[in-house]
């Protein structure tokens, strides 16, 4: 497959555009996704190519547009909803949680809701408390939703293809600070299985499971630790529902140590789920050190740039956690 280097943002757009060219049922709706090109520019140029019927610029009505996507999905369309900031899921939440997630099951296996809710998450842009959250654990708690969190341009294209092909509601988290990162990405459409983790770096001493932007911070930490003679394995689950338990368990059996890192507030975050999953598994016997969780501090994201950085795990926090963990023999 021919590849070229494109950004994460371009990969999202390319995945959608390729799908829309070959499937008339796929359309996108959302706020300011028309000539404005979306708050982050992801849909730029799409209304020009696909027209306003298939790139539907909506009023500021998150509950209605989420519900409309669900209703359209139930009746034969395959909508992509762009939610401008993931924080606004609060307003779309009733529709996603009480309708989208449950419809098929409640109806006794009838009907399906093939839709993707794409939304930018995370801090680091100075947008403060109501525009910087990482709320994926809420979504992960709801049976019936799938939750995807890609960390690279390559993964985002393949996972978005899989999400659009999926017959279930998928919450697709894009990280704002990753939009400008780039990678070699195939030109042709391809699919990455939802529920398959990726070992981003192999190692033997400690397993670091990291999500979204924390994958990059973990890799940076791992490169530094290598110089100290510590070999870190970095696993990116890529999708938190379903979670690839096997890859994580196998890694912990090999290293005997586990650290989980995410940007979301530590309390109630997906790290707790991963830690308990491992503690309940056969990997428990292999653990040489207590499991560690790194996550956001238990505060809203503050505006001041120094405070904003201090609110979430940074490379030095990962370095410290790894060094502490390897002390256990």
């Amino acid at each position: 497959m021919a590849t070229r280097e494109i950004t994460y943002l371009e990969a999202v757009r390319e995945a959608m555009s390729q799908e829309m060219r070959q499937n008339e049922d796929v359309f996108i709706l959302g706020e300011d996704i028309g000539v404005y090109g979306g708050a982050f520019g992801v849909t730029r140029g799409m209304i020009e190519e696909f027209g306003p019927e298939r790139v539907r610029n909506t009023p500021i009505s998150e509950a209605a547009i989420a519900g409309a996507a669900i209703g359209a999905a139930l009746t034969g369309m395959r909508p992509i909803l762009e939610l401008q900031f993931s924080d606004f899921i609060t307003i779309a939440m009733d529709q996603m949680v009480n309708q989208a997630a449950k419809t098929r099951y409640m109806f006794g296996g009838k009907g399906k809701v093939p839709m993707v809710l794409r939304t930018p998450a995370g801090s680091g842009t100075g947008a403060a408390a109501q525009h910087s959250q990482s709320l994926e654990a809420w979504m992960a708690h709801i049976p019936g939703l799938k939750v995807v969190q890609p960390s690279t341009a390559y993964d985002v294209k393949g996972l978005l293809k899989a999400a659009m092909d999926d017959d279930n509601p998928v919450i697709f988290y894009e990280h704002k600070l990753l939009y400008k990162t780039s990678a070699e990405v195939p030109e042709e459409p391809y699919s990455i299985e939802i529920g398959k983790a990726d070992i981003k770096r192999e190692g033997t001493d400690v397993t670091v499971v990291a999500t979204a932007i924390m994958v990059h911070k973990a890799l940076e930490a791992a490169a530094q630790l290598e110089k100290e003679g510590i070999s870190v394995e970095v696993i990116d689950p890529r999708t938190i529902v379903p979670l690839d338990k096997e890859t994580i368990i196998d890694s912990v059996k090999k290293t005997g140590r586990l650290i989980v890192v995410h940007e979301a507030v530590r309390r109630g975050g997906i790290g707790g789920e991963i830690a308990s999953m491992v503690a309940e598994s056969e990997a428990f016997d292999y653990l040489d050190a207590p499991i560690k969780r790194l996550g956001g501090k238990e505060v809203p994201i503050p505006y001041n740039p120094n405070l904003e950085k201090a609110a979430i795990p940074q490379v030095p926090d990962i370095l410290a956690a790894v060094r502490e963990t390897v002390k256990y023999k």
Binding site: E31, G34, V35, Y36, I60, T125, E298, Y303
Partner: protein, 327 residues
């Protein structure tokens, strides 16, 4: 001496001059912020109300210190009009500890609770239900204050708008809902996003009065809001007032403004609310050109001082990260 026009009784000649200066304070504040953003000296995002000074200044002019306002993401003007301190505002934008939110909130969360400003809001439509609650307190505790609830044309398509107006209506609460219709949300024009001529027409659906005013005409704004405030204060419930206005700048930073034409922008700029108010004050004999210039210069000096204050203020300490979460 004022000649002819009828104005609310609290609007004295002195007050008119203050308002003229205040409009310049608002404009200079946001012009300054715009420059800082362009130079990358402030991070995050901001929403400027340049061009919309009249709806903030004129509305808030007719309420008292004990009355309250609920603001929006485009809230610098509201804050200044509600006796806000430009030093604290600028310091907040710089993320300094001397700012309104100790550097934790930024532009979208500036609040001055002591002065009755219940805050800007990062959530479109997020303030409307809060205004209803604040008005409920006024009624239940017999405090007799009125709440001015600002929101945009875009916000009027959120469920929270409809639920809030209905609730305030059935409970006869002292709120004045003020829609600053600047013709666009982020990019969606009000013409495309609603199928009605006026957002104020929605008042009918909830059984309250709805009025449309020229949002660049200080006199019309003051008189209309005053009437709605009196009605609310006397226990007759809420009103909805729509002010037709225009934001001169882009929605926030980095807006190519592809959704509107430069001609349209120029038409609205020509209708400048500040210039219009000056002409009015001159024709009424309240102000001459020289006094007008002095007031304008004084406003600029205040903003320059605010910048100095902000630049010389310390950053918050990292220890403050965990402070102020719970009461």
């Amino acid at each position: 001496m004022m000649k002819t026009l009828k104005l609310p009784e609290m609007i004295t000649e002195e007050k008119l001059k203050d308002l003229y200066k205040q409009m310049w304070t608002i404009r200079y504040f946001d012009e300054k912020v715009d420059q800082f953003f362009a130079k990358g000296l402030i991070h995050g995002t901001t929403h400027l109300c340049v061009g919309q000074e009249a709806s903030a200044a004129g509305s808030i002019a007719v309420i008292g210190t004990k009355d309250k306002i609920v603001s929006t993401h485009r809230g610098h003007g509201h804050c200044i009009a509600k006796e806000g301190d430009v030093n604290k505002m600028m310091a907040e934008l710089f993320g300094r500890v001397t700012g309104y939110c100790k550097g934790k909130g930024g532009s979208m969360h500036i609040a001055d609770v002591e002065k009755g400003n219940l805050g800007a809001n990062g959530i479109v439509g997020g303030g409307l239900p809060l205004a209803v609650g604040a008005a409920l307190t006024s009624k239940m505790k017999k405090e007799n204050y009125v709440v001015l609830c600002f929101f945009g044309d875009g916000a009027s398509n959120e469920g929270s708008f409809h639920e809030s107006v209905n609730l305030a209506s059935i409970w006869d609460l002292p709120v004045v809902f003020i829609c600053e219709n600047n013709q666009y949300g982020m990019s969606g024009s009000v013409k495309e996003m609603t199928n009605i001529e006026n957002i104020a027409d929605r008042a009918d659906a909830y059984g309250i009065p709805g009025k449309v005013v020229d949002g660049l005409d200080m006199v019309e704004i003051m008189n209309t809001v005053d009437e709605a405030v009196q009605r609310a204060r006397n226990g007759f419930g809420p009103s909805l007032i729509e002010m037709k206005t225009y934001r001169w700048k882009g929605h926030s930073k980095s807006d190519a403004k592809k959704y509107r034409t430069r001609e349209e922008e120029n038409e609205w700029r020509a209708k400048d609310g500040i210039k219009r108010f000056k002409e009015f004050l001159k024709s009424e004999g309240v102000l001459n050109e020289e006094e007008a210039k002095q007031l304008q210069d004084a406003a600029l000096a205040e903003i320059e001082e605010a910048v100095r204050f902000a630049e010389n203020s310390p950053e918050p300490s990292i220890d403050s990260l965990l402070e102020d979460l719970y009461a």
